[in-house]
């Protein structure tokens, strides 16, 4: 590696690379990482990237992301690459992949949608209409979602 390492390597955990610049805090939020965590999280923002111009990187110690985490991540960081680290070595590489539907990932942003009643028990569901550009529609009310607003509504 020619560039100086900005954050030390981790022993066990997950590295989330190629997060669009400025979105690392949202990723932290949607992964449910909070201040009460006993293990360290390192965050790098605005570093140059050949792939996406500028990027954020997140290193989460002692936690391996699962498929549900990746589904959430897909909304914010569709180009992210995930490495699961075990004993200082990359044990698994994963790609974020946006499926055709999102179940219980985000709430619909339309004020008159049936799902706005928090007591309704069925899951929140979105349909992915197009991946590039990203277009997501509420499965129930059919409204197109503003992606930034949707990210704010991630459950």
């Amino acid at each position: 590696m020619t560039e100086m390492r900005r954050v030390t390597a981790i022993r066990n955990g997950t590295v989330v690379d190629h997060i669009p610049s400025g979105y690392a805090m949202q990723v932290i939020r949607i992964l449910g990482i909070d201040a009460d965590r006993a293990t360290p999280v390192s965050l790098v923002m605005n570093v140059p990237s050949d792939k996406i111009g500028r990027k954020d990187v997140l290193k989460i110690e002692d936690r391996e992301l699962d498929q549900e985490d990746l589904d959430r991540l897909a909304l914010i960081a569709p180009a992210a690459s995930i490495a699961i680290i075990r004993n200082h070595a990359v044990a698994e590489k994963m790609k974020v992949e946006l499926g055709d539907g999102l179940v219980n990932i985000a709430r619909c942003s339309f004020s008159n949608c049936i799902t706005k009643n928090n007591r309704e028990p069925l899951p929140q569901r979105m349909r992915v209409v197009s991946r590039d550009p990203l277009e997501v529609r509420c499965y129930y009310c059919g409204r197109d979602q503003e992606i930034d607003e949707l990210i704010g509504n991630i459950i």
């Binding site: 619909c108 129930y140 409204r143």
Partner: protein
């Protein structure tokens, strides 16, 4: 299963089959022939919002076919006590074989069909869809013009909020009709809908003036400008009464042209139009009965005989 939540639940072949069945059911809808195809079946009319024509025509349709109807209204029931739609529908699915639902919130019909195992017919969800209205509108147009292909349909009034205009224009385009959209700027058809219609290859014209459109029209579909949609009186006053058809205006109209309206009307169509050959709105309201009969049969998997007698 026989849900009808949006018009996307029906292929063009399905639409034609439903309309064909509806046509054969007209004498049953009028009470001239007794045909108890749905005897022993129960329809739940789940109206969480007021309705006159839709609720009553569903009820007539079911009863004319020998079925029975449970009428639900959300006022003074478990809903006003805070019951969710999910549990209300769970409860009703134990009492009925099929449910027609109208709800002020968008997505309520899709939500209901996911909640329960009985077929759901969407009778209007917020500003969303109203597919049984679209089906009866298609039935009415086909009755007058035989084919929908190549017709020039002029939609007039509130094209921004009116769910009827949205679903109908999508359906017409699937059958090759051309659309002329007449509305004040503030009530134009949403751009995403117009671009959607055009992407299906439809010929769509937008204008603010109705008068020039009358002579070229095969169908003039008037809608009410809905006072309840406006944030203030002043905004409403600017556009209220902007489009009004009088009998005199129709002098140059094509022979066979029809004037439609989903009703209730305020003053979009003068009473002197009622007695002209063009008026089709009362017939349209009646057509809700055979069309909904046909849709009820479809949803319950009951075949309408090829010969109704």
């Amino acid at each position: 299963m026989g849900n009808l939540v949006t018009m996307d639940d029906l292929s063009n072949e399905d639409i034609v089959a439903v309309l064909d069945d509806a046509e054969r059911l007209v004498p049953v809808a009028k009470g001239e022939i007794i045909l108890p195809l749905l005897q022993g079946k129960v329809l739940a009319n789940m109206f969480f919002e007021n309705s006159t024509r839709t609720r009553m025509s569903f009820e007539t349709a079911m009863k004319r076919l020998g079925g029975s109807v449970l009428n639900f209204s959300s006022v003074g029931t478990s809903v006003s006590k805070g019951e969710t739609l999910y549990y209300t529908m769970q409860m009703i699915s134990g009492y009925a074989d099929v449910a027609a639902i109208r709800h002020p919130r968008q997505g309520a019909a899709q939500y209901s069909s996911d909640a329960v195992g009985i077929p759901i017919l969407n009778a209007g969800d917020g500003a969303g869809n109203h597919p049984t209205q679209t089906m009866l509108d298609l039935f009415t147009i086909r009755q007058a013009h035989e084919s929908l292909d190549g017709l020039n349909v002029v939609l007039v009034g509130d094209l921004r909020y009116g769910r009827t205009a949205h679903s109908l224009s999508h359906a017409l385009v699937r059958f090759g009709a051309s659309l002329t959209l007449v509305s004040p700027t503030s009530l134009k058809m949403p751009v995403e809908i117009v671009s959607d219609l055009r992407s299906h290859g439809a010929d769509v014209t937008e204008t603010e003036s109705l008068n020039e459109q009358i002579t070229g029209a095969d169908v003039i579909y008037m809608t009410r400008i809905q006072k309840e949609r406006f944030p203030d009186e002043e905004e409403y006053a600017k556009v209220a009464g902007i489009y009004k058809i009088e009998a005199n205006d129709l002098v140059g109209a094509k022979k066979g042209m029809i004037v439609m309206h989903p009703l209730p009307r305020v003053d979009e169509i003068a009473p002197n139009v009622d007695s002209t050959e063009f008026a089709r709105y009362f017939q349209q309201a009646f057509n809700g009965v055979p069309t909904r009969m046909s849709l009820l049969c479809r949803s319950l998997g009951v075949k309408v005989p090829k010969k109704v007698k």
